[in-house]
Symmetry: C2
Subunit: 226 residues, 2 copies
DNA sequence: GTACATTTTGTACGGCGTACAGAAATAGGC
DNA sequence: GCCTATTTCTGTACGCCGTACAAAATGTAC
């Protein structure tokens, strides 16, 4: 160890870290939605000139990618790897965990869907899903297709859920959201859309954990042929 | 008809129509992605000053909403209402039609997911799905939940599909897209992600019609408890 | 101490959505 | 057939965005 790998670069020490930038970006995302998470906004929050951000990330797309990876990295896949737990339950727990992490930052899921999810964390998630589905007795090819179906369901659900809520303040409880939706649905003309008007109380609950798990169960039922 | 309802307003005649603006916006969306579909770009294409667009739409969000409705309006739901056709097949045909219409304009589905889909066309789609699922023997509440599950699947699939393709030129065939994806997957380190590396040929086909219908069948299987 | 690599800032460019005021064009009331 | 009210479109401008470029400040290695 004659060569000190660290402490090698010349120039002033950095005043920030990538993590601090990502944290600031997430805060802004939570407070003001996607439009608030601008490079200039991030820089202002961490107390630095706008272009200083480009020392840490080549462009804004890289920041977005890093946020996505950061969020995916927050879910500890090892927790859902206990083979003593039935595979269906492991998948359900993971799906619920993902929903919780991502709905905590509305607008974040839109960032994910904006570009390809090809980072290492996304890959690890894919790997984990295929591994778990392998335990279900599915062959390798079927497990792969099935894991993509699950990814579509999870991210599609969350994306639609946050989209339907628009810019609604984040602090509201699930019951409040449902009540607010139901109120909006009262404007549906029953003459033109009788089934929708009648189903308004159900449609209001589309953004609930119950609907999420209900749909997940149907998907899993379809996968296991039952 | 003594009262001419039309030809009533003062002021110069309009030089454009809402439709012309939407067509221009869709063209730009196809050619240059979401960023190209700017108000200024649209105005330039139809040969008008940027702010003239605001005569037809109150703001850009309204234009986006109109595009979404325009696209949804392109699918003629009546075609999928023939009760002589089994309900599963009707849903499958509709799902395929939606995918075709929306993947024809990559970036458009991101616009849909960006905000709530509460326009009349979206409502009509929901109504149609609930009606069709009613034919399957599901109760009203289950049919409502099931239709949302289908919407999540359809729009989630298309959103992920267009996202994974990034800014890939639109003209490429499905086979070319798959080949390109497979090439990219060869970079997956088999040591860290053995299952994913091995499943690369399957994962490459995630963006295919086959995967889309495969997943749809699984969802429908889950819905019918088989 | 000097040379060099690196971080941060100041400034600037082009593009965005859109607000505002004014000019041109058209309808209805007299 | 003028007058007035209303509407459409343009010119201009503001504040925001992402980011390129050059210079200043700061650190390491020789």
């Amino acid at each position: 160890m004659t060569t000190q790998a660290r402490r090698s670069k010349p120039g002033p020490r950095r005043t920030l870290t990538e993590g601090a930038i990502l944290d600031a970006a997430l805060d802004l995302l939570d407070e003001g939605g996607v439009k608030a998470a601008s490079v200039r906004g991030i820089a202002a929050r961490v107390g630095v000139a706008p272009n200083a951000v480009y020392t840490y990330f080549p462009d804004k797309a890289a920041v977005v990618k890093a946020i996505v990876e950061h969020l995916l990295g927050q879910v500890d896949l090892a927790v859902f790897s206990d083979r003593n737990v039935p595979w269906r339950q492991r998948i359900e727990s993971l799906a619920l965990e993902l929903r919780e992490r991502l709905t905590a930052h509305p607008g974040a899921v839109n960032l994910m869907i904006g570009g390809p999810m090809d980072g290492p964390r996304a890959l690890a998630l894919n790997e984990h899903l295929m591994e778990t589905l392998g335990d279900s007795g599915l062959g390798a090819a079927e497990a792969a297709r099935a894991s993509y179906l699950l990814i579509v369901y999870v991210f599609g659900s969350i994306a639609l859920e946050t989209a339907e809520q628009g810019d609604q303040t984040r602090g509201t409880s699930e019951d409040e959201k449902i009540a607010s939706r139901l109120k909006g649905f009262s404007a549906i003309p029953a003459a033109s859309y009788p089934l929708s008007a009648a189903a308004a109380p159900i449609m209001a609950t589309y953004v609930s954990t119950r609907q999420y798990t209900w749909g997940l169960h149907k998907v899993l039922d379809g996968l296991t042929g039952e």
